[in-house]
Point group: C2
Chain length 324, copies 2
């Protein structure tokens, strides 16, 4: 059963279960909704890097922080399609295009829609993350065939002000709702390790799990050590089991959502990733580069998946269970 | 259902399952026979070290190998009881006393029985591992109240000759059968990482799982790097998931046996130990020293168990399901 009326008290109680009980409950649900041995693979490309006007404290692309990230213009469509071809060749099924914007300018929409159409013609699922969207922009992307739109809420509503001041949680949720109403699948998750409390991580998931419909994809990131951003001063290493508990809680609260083990995998042991997969993570980024941080090399992921007897899930095979 | 008619083909097929399926099957059985959040703790003392006439290729105590281990005489009973008190104070429930012998001399039996009685009076379960036993020696230890007798088969019957030449697998199985018939609980397992093949690890478990009755305890050891022993030349690091698969297979073949994650934990990540606990390992040695190799410090184990919400299983609470 898919619920959107979860309470923090319920989520806390599940999260606090003894590890074996939490894991068994998450696995049982995961196995009811997904092939437990299948994993979705996506590849991520920064199509416009740096110089972002938002001041998100975790992000190397903000113009507010001195992180050494070189700002670039929006890539050409051909350059993006070439990268998409490489991603497909290396086993990705979805191609995610990210631009460091507060929101896209209307003048860029034609080019963005061309990118969507071009990538889709390569047989890849398409995903974009461009910042906040107007209803018109959502409609244009939908018409171009965009499959997914990523727009993370990053953390809990209570902690959000510690992360960004140039935008609010309400801004984020508005865009998520626009995207959902516009018929594009929602990819929305958050980040652990920015100095937030355990409660903030749980509240982030409850926020997602009480949206009108659960996101189709829930990325769970471990904050990647980045020099020169405000979060660095507050960041704390996340206990591996704390990460697994959040993945398991995401799976239990949102049984039909794909949970992506996103940024931070380079710092995770194989065993930790295996625990996350058992807990319900069933998607990863492939390719050795995310937007600006590293990702395990392709051979390493192939080796890990083969030792676990996991296979790449055919894109259309993933069940989508709409919220009742 | 407890079976003792397992075949290698069945064991291979289970062992080769996709990791998530293998783990779910092992957890489901584990939860049917044990409290999945409980762990048994034992402490191990070498009551007579080194100078062993056996030539076991993995062992630092063999007189055949130059490992720098100083040979000692059999400890005094009081010294053993003092160690037992310390073990109890640090949370151990069982006190295992090991002597590096081919088999104990009759002249030592009185003293060994005094040790058993003395340790039992401290409220600890007792276990000894003294090498091969005669029926009379078994009877004496039983009369003294010995709870468990450890006598590992180390590896598969096929690989055994690569490990030791001064004794045979049949010798081992004879003593195990004597102990069982004598009414003492059997602790019998083996070692991974001695250059054996995957098949040997599976065959070791099938050998145990097709005994007239499954061992009460099945210790699974990772060979601890020891200088100067023959195994060192052949030893290979064991893939963490290979260890977990063997623990899961032990749990599935022997659902009511306690599976002890024994030597080698100092080299394991917390996540690997958590995977082993999920797979069915529900016993560990506590205290920072095994017979001659290291073991995680007490605080580290307490931290790990608390993060996993695990508690120490009251000794008598452990179900014993006799083979049908």
């Amino acid at each position: 059963m898919i619920r959107t009326d979860w309470t923090m008290a319920e989520a806390w109680a599940i999260h606090a279960l003894p590890f074996a009980d939490l894991m068994h409950r998450a696995q049982t649900l995961h196995r009811a909704h997904f092939d437990p041995n299948a994993i979705e693979t996506a590849s991520l490309l920064s199509i416009k890097t740096g110089g972002c006007p938002e001041d998100c404290g975790y992000c190397s692309q903000s113009a507010h922080h001195d992180t050494g990230v070189k700002a670039t213009k929006l890539m050409g469509t051909e350059e993006v399609l070439a990268a998409a071809r490489r991603a497909k060749a290396s086993g990705a099924q979805r191609f995610c295009m990210g631009a460091a914007w507060r929101s896209p300018k209307d003048r860029d929409m034609d080019k963005l829609c061309d990118m969507v159409r071009g990538v889709a013609e390569l047989g890849l699922e398409t995903c974009m993350t461009l910042g906040m969207l107007s209803p018109e922009q959502v409609a244009r992307l939908k018409a171009a065939g965009l499959d997914f739109y990523n727009h993370n809420i990053d953390t809990s509503p209570e902690y959000y002000a510690q992360i960004a001041s140039t935008r609010t949680m309400e801004n984020r949720l508005d865009t998520v709702e626009q995207v959902r109403k516009g018929g594009i699948k929602v990819c929305c998750g958050g980040i652990l390790g920015m100095g937030e409390a355990e409660e903030d991580r749980i509240a982030m998931l409850v926020t997602l799990a009480t949206l009108p419909a659960h996101p189709d994809s829930v990325p769970v990131n471990l904050w990647n050590e980045i020099e020169g951003v405000p979060v660095q001063a507050r960041a704390q290493a996340v206990d591996p089991f704390a990460l697994v508990r959040i993945v398991a809680l995401a799976r239990i609260l949102m049984p039909a959502s794909v949970v992506r083990l996103s940024a931070g995998r380079t710092g995770m042991s194989d065993e930790l990733q295996a625990l996350c997969f058992l807990a319900g993570a069933n998607s990863i980024f492939v390719g050795d580069q995310l937007l600006t941080t590293g990702n395990p090399a392709a051979w390493k992921d192939q080796d890990l998946l083969s030792r676990l007897g996991m296979h790449i899930a055919p894109a259309q095979a993933r069940p989508r269970v709409a919220a009742e």
